[in-house]
């Protein structure tokens, strides 16, 4: 295991942080399936710091995660979008105080089948034509999106309704969270989306950038024109904000009481933020900018 560890891109132990040593107990995280790989990677690395701390990471989707978080069932909620007002209200009602910490960046990618050579770049309007609620049952062919596109039936895949990805995408493209045509294949499991897009020449779908990078043979990410020209999702375009409107930050929400009362939660979260870069790399995400990292550390500091 040691040898494997060495080539695994794991943060070197003994970089001054011994916060986890000696602690034990459990840390319960739930929420976004997009963010889960990050928290899992953090948990994975954290085991070397504090082998007696049991970290579980469930994937109920951002919304589902907040539901549990505000019911005081979890310590950390992973989120691929900021908390909504009604969710915040729930937490307040239950007396749950929390802190939002930005933890990584993601480019929400629009993907098509690799065979598709005509759709290189789509504008937000075109995406809206495809995905809008009014498209349901009517926009069924690529040539309805652009007359220059071939006569090819559309097959739509995307994130399930519990996910922050879904919320984010519908908000960015259709202007309202949750507004989307229903005749597409929603799945909480992004790999199903990969399979779906890979298996259908006329497919289009949306998911996290990591899936695109890992499945170059199955998927092709297209450029998105948010008004300032076609931009491909990459680490740079996401970090510098040009991949708009689909570049997005990812968050963890920490229960303040847990952080204060449970040393294992505190040391895990501290470790997580500190090793943010390695974690993002391991989980195939885009790390924080200097600025973002500073913000995150400030937020941590307010927790005590």
């Amino acid at each position: 295991a040691l040898v494997l560890t060495a080539c695994g891109g794991q943060p070197a132990a003994g970089d001054g942080s011994t916060e986890g040593a000696g602690t034990s107990g459990s840390v319960v995280a739930d929420g976004s399936s997009t963010v889960a790989p990050l928290t899992e990677a953090a948990a994975d690395f954290f085991r070397d710091e504090a082998p007696d701390v049991n970290v579980t990471v469930a994937t109920s989707g951002t919304g589902g995660g907040f539901a549990k978080f505000c019911a005081d069932e979890t310590d950390i909620s992973n989120a691929s979008r900021p908390i909504k007002d009604e969710e915040a209200a729930l937490c307040e009602e239950a007396g749950i105080e929390y802190t939002e910490i930005i933890i990584a960046n993601d480019g929400l990618s629009v993907v098509v089948n690799p065979e598709n050579d005509f759709a290189q770049c789509l504008t937000v309007e075109q995406l809206n034509t495809i995905w809008g609620p009014e498209a349901e049952g009517t926009v069924t062919n690529w040539n309805q999106v652009d007359p220059s596109f071939p006569d090819l039936p559309l097959a739509l895949f995307g994130a399930g309704t519990d996910s922050g990805t879904f919320d984010y995408f519908t908000d960015a493209i259709n202007g309202e969270e949750g507004a989307i045509r229903t005749d597409y294949s929603p799945s909480e499991d992004d790999n199903i989306t990969v399979q779906g897009v890979a298996g259908d020449e006329g497919a289009i779908g949306f998911l996290g950038l990591s899936y695109v990078e890992e499945n170059p043979d199955s998927l092709k990410a297209i450029e998105v024109d948010g008004g300032a020209g076609c931009v491909a999702p990459t680490a740079e375009t996401v970090q510098d904000g040009t991949y708009s409107p689909l570049g997005r930050p990812l968050f963890i929400y920490v229960n303040n009481a847990s952080y204060a009362d449970k040393p294992q939660v505190k040391s895990f979260v501290d470790f997580y933020v500190e090793s943010e870069a390695e974690v993002a790399e391991a989980a195939l995400f885009i790390g924080l900018t200097e600025e973002q990292k500073a913000t995150a550390q400030d937020e941590l500091a307010t927790l005590g």
Binding site: S26, E40, R47, A58, T59, D190, L284
Partner: protein, 303 residues
């Protein structure tokens, strides 16, 4: 039409060797037999294809690491240790819960219950019915139950075991009843006629004689539970667990869930890991079925 009378004359009539192909070997019966064999062979070929497929995909990842390592963000470092331990925990608790309960229920139904009583008939009907209820419904039941008793985190060993226990309890009851029924009534009569009570007869004669049948049925039922994922999904067992489960209230994941989880990852390496973990499951399945067959053939008495 030759009247019946003619054939009775007794004089040698048609020879028995008709010169034609024997009727058992004419085309129609031969084709029929081939069709029957084919239906079985198709199933077997399918099974072999499945196994070969999985071995080809997961073989390279199948190794010690799978058993000793925790899940990780890098497929090269990841293993299924918590899932294997989780499966052991959940199946172990399930076995402890269901086997005594199932045997007790079966003993009641076979040895003690008056089969004409409405209550016992209702139980019988229920058992048969429950055996065919979709597993996912048991997940819904366990979820509702845990919510009712106010369990905060439903993904705990005892919760999973509860769902699986309810799922396989009818199977174990039915298998045990069959094993008990196979004990000839002469043995019971012999014992009772000596002045043994019903329970003495059950405990000293019937149960020992039906142990092989009960063991076989229980093993097969547990092997089914081992492969179940759907009811556990409802309890939220699709989690990343990077520690060894260590108690009834400990969080857990199981092999089928881990497989499902890995297949949902972007990296191809995880898909291979999923296949490798499937090999473990298949090996366990074959092992358990083999054990059941061994017990059945070795110890099952022919009365």
């Amino acid at each position: 039409m030759r009247s019946l009378q003619d054939s009775l004359a007794g004089a040698p009539t048609m020879p028995l060797s008709t010169g034609k192909r024997p009727r058992e070997q004419r085309p129609a019966p031969m084709i029929f037999l081939i069709v029957l064999w084919l239906s079985l062979l198709i199933a077997v070929v399918f099974l072999i294809t499945l196994i070969v497929n999985i071995v080809l995909e997961g073989g390279s990842r199948f190794g010690l690491q799978l058993f000793t390592e925790y899940p990780a963000s890098d497929p090269d470092r990841a293993g299924a240790r918590p899932a294997i331990l989780g499966s052991i925990w959940v199946i172990g608790v399930t076995a402890v819960l269901t086997i005594p309960l199932g045997i007790a229920a079966a003993v009641h139904l076979e040895e003690f219950a008056d089969k004409r009583h409405w209550f016992n008939r209702a139980i019988e009907l229920n058992v048969q019915n429950l055996a065919a209820v979709p597993s996912i419904v048991y997940g819904l039941l366990a979820l509702a139950f845990l919510t009712l008793v106010g369990v905060r985190d439903k993904n705990i060993v005892i919760g999973g075991a509860l769902a699986l226990s309810l799922l396989i309890l009818p199977v174990i009851i039915i298998a045990t009843r069959e094993a008990i029924r196979a004990v000839p009534s002469e043995i019971r009569d012999g014992s009772l006629a000596l002045g043994a009570t019903k329970w003495q007869t059950t405990w000293r004669q019937v149960l020992p004689a039906s142990v092989p049948g009960i063991a076989t049925g229980s093993i097969l039922a547990l092997s089914r539970a081992l492969g179940e994922a759907a009811p556990l999904l409802l309890l939220g067992a699709l989690v990343f667990v990077s520690f060894d489960p260590n108690g009834l209230l400990s969080g857990f994941t199981t092999l089928p869930i881990q497989i499902f989880n890995w297949t949902g990852r972007p990296q191809e390496g995880f898909h291979e890991l999923a296949a490798a973990a499937s090999i473990i499951l298949l090996m366990l399945l074959l092992l358990m079925n083999g054990l059941a067959i061994f017990i059945r053939n070795r110890y099952q008495k022919r009365w």
